[in-house]
């Protein structure tokens, strides 16, 4: 099935660089990943959770280190650990008197300290963890793409079901609660999905740029949208456009840049243009 998709990609993008399999794999992965990060980014901004996604991405080190200690697949332990960290933050915010800033700050520090403590003892762990700092979408495998496809289907089916309620509670949580919306469930859903998507995103853009991948398309979409519906469509369009453009630019001889970083930079240029446009339009 993937071969057909790769052929379609090489037909639509008849550039030399896009005739290579690893580039086709990278583009397909980004085309699956970027709609998820873009729409999640809209909720992240609405719920002021940018620091939350940073915490998840930085928890990757501890997740990988745990895998090495327990002799388990580091990518498996990384995913489980990151999701647990995400759910722990939501739990602390919902069930204790800690503000979300404080809860995120505490968990962030512990997760990073734990990861660094283990990595500092083991050089092989350090090498394993290093690949997640910068990410490498070009090394993505067919298996990763199948996993991303499964995540894509689960994500969009469940997200479409909860989207309206999440919009409602992001306007005002107290009113939503008083009108019978189970706000806790939606917060856990957002935390869970965000953690899963961030784990995959780390592979593409690296720990340092995950938040940018989430936030920038959504922020650019906000600039030019008047409604919640339009924001979602614009975020998806900007996310996909910057992924395609960024990947192709990064592979040019004159560029030779990291693909994840180039995708983020293209999204940023769109954000700047949007901001100027919104300012002029008033």
């Amino acid at each position: 099935m993937l071969d057909i998709l790769y052929q379609i990609i090489s037909f639509i993008f008849p550039f030399d660089v896009m005739q290579q399999r690893f580039m086709q794999q990278a583009l397909l992965a980004l085309l699956i990943l970027s709609p998820m990060t873009s729409v999640l980014g809209v909720h992240v901004i609405n719920s002021k959770m940018a620091f939350f996604s940073d915490t998840i991405s930085h928890s990757v080190f501890a997740g990988v280190a745990l895998g090495l200690i327990l002799s388990l697949n580091p990518e498996f332990t990384m995913a489980i650990f990151c999701v647990l960290v995400g759910l722990l933050i939501i739990y602390l915010t919902e069930k204790t008197r800690l503000s979300s800033d404080t809860a995120i700050g505490v968990v962030f520090s512990v997760a990073v300290a734990f990861g660094l403590a283990i990595i500092s003892r083991d050089r092989s762990a350090a090498r394993n963890a290093q690949q997640f700092i910068y990410g490498d979408i070009l090394s993505i495998s067919d298996l990763d793409i199948y996993l991303l496809m499964v995540l894509f289907v689960i994500f969009f089916v469940t997200w479409a079901i909860v989207f309206n309620k999440m919009v409602n509670l992001s306007a005002d949580k107290e009113i939503a609660k008083a009108h019978g919306i189970k706000t806790e469930i939606y917060n856990y859903f957002l935390g869970f999905m965000l953690s899963l998507v961030v784990v995959f995103c780390v592979r593409a853009t690296g720990v340092l740029l995950v938040t940018a991948m989430l936030i920038i398309p959504a922020a650019a979409a906000r600039n030019i949208s008047k409604s919640a519906g339009a924001t979602i469509w614009w975020a998806i369009v900007i996310g996909i456009f910057s992924s395609i453009t960024g990947l192709i630019i990064s592979a040019q001889n004159w560029a030779q840049t990291a693909s994840g970083a180039t995708v983020v930079l293209v999204a940023f240029i769109i954000f700047v243009i949007n901001t100027i446009y919104a300012k002029i339009k008033g």
């Binding site: 309206n164 005002d172 919640a228």
Partner: protein, 249 residues
Amino acid sequence: MAVGVELQNITVVSEGNTLIENVSAFVPAGSLTFILGPNGGGKTTLLKCILNIIKYSGKVIFHGAKDNKIKIGYVPQKINVDRDMPLTVLEYLVSGFQKLPIFLGILPKFKKEALDVLKLTGAEGLIDKRLGRFSGGEMQRVLVALALMQKPDVLILDEPSGGIDISGETLFCGLISSIKKQLNITVIMVTHDIEVVRAHADNVILLKKTLRGSGTISDTLTDAKLKELFGIHDKEKKNCHFIGGEEHA
């Protein structure tokens, strides 16, 4: 049929502090009942007990409701919406009800319902405007419309006139009174303005940590009760419209 609300021995303790103690009162079905009291007197806490969004001891009984379950419309003092969030009034009103994701469109049935409640609050012109760009008065009308979208048995308003001036508040209370009559619902409202209470209330609950009185205006808004509640006589309030709020002269 309108729903009556009976409060039985309601007590709320938070972190060792008693916020309200042993409050028992009755809100008649179809009435416009005001809760009056000084700042920190427990008015909002009592509303949250009726909304069932905080822990309390005692009972809230809804007379005329099946299995003691009712629909509540809630209007807070102010909304904490992010002013830059792109969200139209129509989307906000519909988002709590429509199953189809609103980015795929809004169904005519829900658009009509939203328009109907906005017409009731005189805010139909705001339907396609962005939330967060409104004046205090406009926002309150939108929030009342949102509360009415719930098709409530009881409408609860927590100092809804906080962001508007005195004449605006009088008009707003007139609007609420008219909606209550049209829809035959029970309304519970917190306010600081005693003149508004006199003009519109069917029933009053006086609260200062404990219940200081409840019933009709003539029974409850006596000089003695008001002195007990606020420490000043009603006569002294001729030029002091607001009681207990920051505007307290």
